[in-house]
Amino acid sequence: MAPPANRRSGFSRRAQYSTFLSYTAGVLGVVVGLGLVVVSIVNPGAFSSLRGAATDITEPAAKATAGGRVAGSGVLSSIAGFFTMGSEQARIRRELAEAKVRLVEAQAIEAENRRLKNLLDLTREDDGAVAAARLTSSTGGSTRRFATIDSGRDKGLTQGMPIRSTLGLVGRVLEVGGSTSRVLLITDTESIVPVRRSTDGVPAFAQGNGDGTLRVRLINLGINPLKKGDVMVTSGSGGLYRPGTPMAILTEILRDGAVARVLSDPADTDYVMVEQVWAPPPPPAPNENTGE
């Protein structure tokens, strides 16, 4: 490509000054950027209201594209389903029969659970969902894993509320805007969730790897009892996440833990549920007679 003709400033003072000023302005941009980075590292929440306002502005367009995205993936899965219909249907029937049995078992366990809780005088109101929201956008170009949902202060959301889909835990509310909120997905490297194995409650922590998988670290060192295919659920220790929410399935066993795949893939998730921040039940009150 031919170079633009008027590159050289020559002896013209005016041209020399304007070249110098444009470079100075460029360096000023670098300095301002460096200052902003330092501020956001020292105080990560410094620009949260600005970000909230920005996502509030683009919310209508984001909602529209979210609809298109879901429709697009629906068409693709319909076409794929057309080719695998026969075998899929047979498998689904078999699984449905198994699931029916499991459902009856679960009902029985629930009934027993209620009876035992009554025996122990454990009454706690079931704090359910705060709002149903839609995942509208995410940070696909950054190594940080944030998503945006279309509910904010208007639906009574507050910071820290866990977000789940029907399949499992998705993340938690990080910044609340007027009508949108920013969600820290569980695959982000800053997200650490206390988990336990669903079958026997082996405790562990699940931290995001940043590439869509989770790193499960056992709390008890020693022989690694985990096996491929184990399902991890939230343990609720420390509060925040309600215990028993399904979260991840182990895909690769390591020496001190495992690598896990997230059960609720955000790419396939359309609507999510925002739950109350879970607080562990207070320790039982000490018996008043013992002190005397």
Binding site: S40, P44, T139, G141, G210, P266
Partner: protein, 181 residues
């Protein structure tokens, strides 16, 4: 059918100039849209989409050197930072640096072809993605380097496509449709 259309086309171009408003605002608008767009395409659980805003910024500066001022990285970077998920200010910093580098490259290499422009862009893209990771990690994350490899490959391969889009938009930008008095 063909006759009247052929004769109508040149007539509509006589005595017309591009709209100065469109000619000056379209680069800024397309870069801002490209900053917002990747978030809407997919709810990604890994960094798989290219930093479209940055690719668009580099493409515009390479196609029309001097159209965007060197300080354009400041306002455009702020917009990108609002939506990218990076620590605020990282795009302002890196885009401003990239603009200075492009300006220097342009002064040193006045005669460029597609390959040299792509090579320069590859260097900038790789540096941008690595420094973005470094800034995110300094601000609290702990992603490892292998996470960004797919994103780098996708970004490098999609850069010519972004360049094609920028060239098309540039033609729209300079379409004469305002009647000259």
């Amino acid at each position: 059918m063909m006759g009247p259309r052929r004769s109508a086309l040149p007539r509509s171009r006589i005595n017309r100039v591009p709209s100065p408003l469109v000619a000056h605002s379209l680069p800024w608008l397309t870069i801002m849209l490209a900053s917002v767009l990747p978030g809407w395409i997919v709810i990604a659980s890994a960094p798989v989409l290219p930093p479209l805003g940055f690719l668009m910024f580099v493409s515009w500066r390479q196609l029309r050197p001097g159209l965007l001022p060197i300080w354009a990285g400041l306002p455009l970077g702020i917009v990108d930072d609002l939506y990218s998920g990076q620590p605020f200010g990282s795009a302002v910093l890196l885009w401003s640096l990239a603009a200075i580098v492009l300006e220097v490259v342009e002064a040193r290499l006045p005669w460029r072809n597609f390959l040299t422009e792509w090579l320069v862009a590859i260097g900038l893209i790789v540096a941008y993605i690595v420094f973005s990771l470094v800034l995110a990690n300094v601000a609290g994350a702990s992603s490892s380097l292998h996470v960004i490899v797919p994103q780098m490959v996708i970004s490098i391969l999609s850069f010519p496509l972004v360049g094609l889009i920028v060239a098309k938009v540039d033609r729209i930008r300079l379409t004469p449709f305002v009647v000259l008095r």
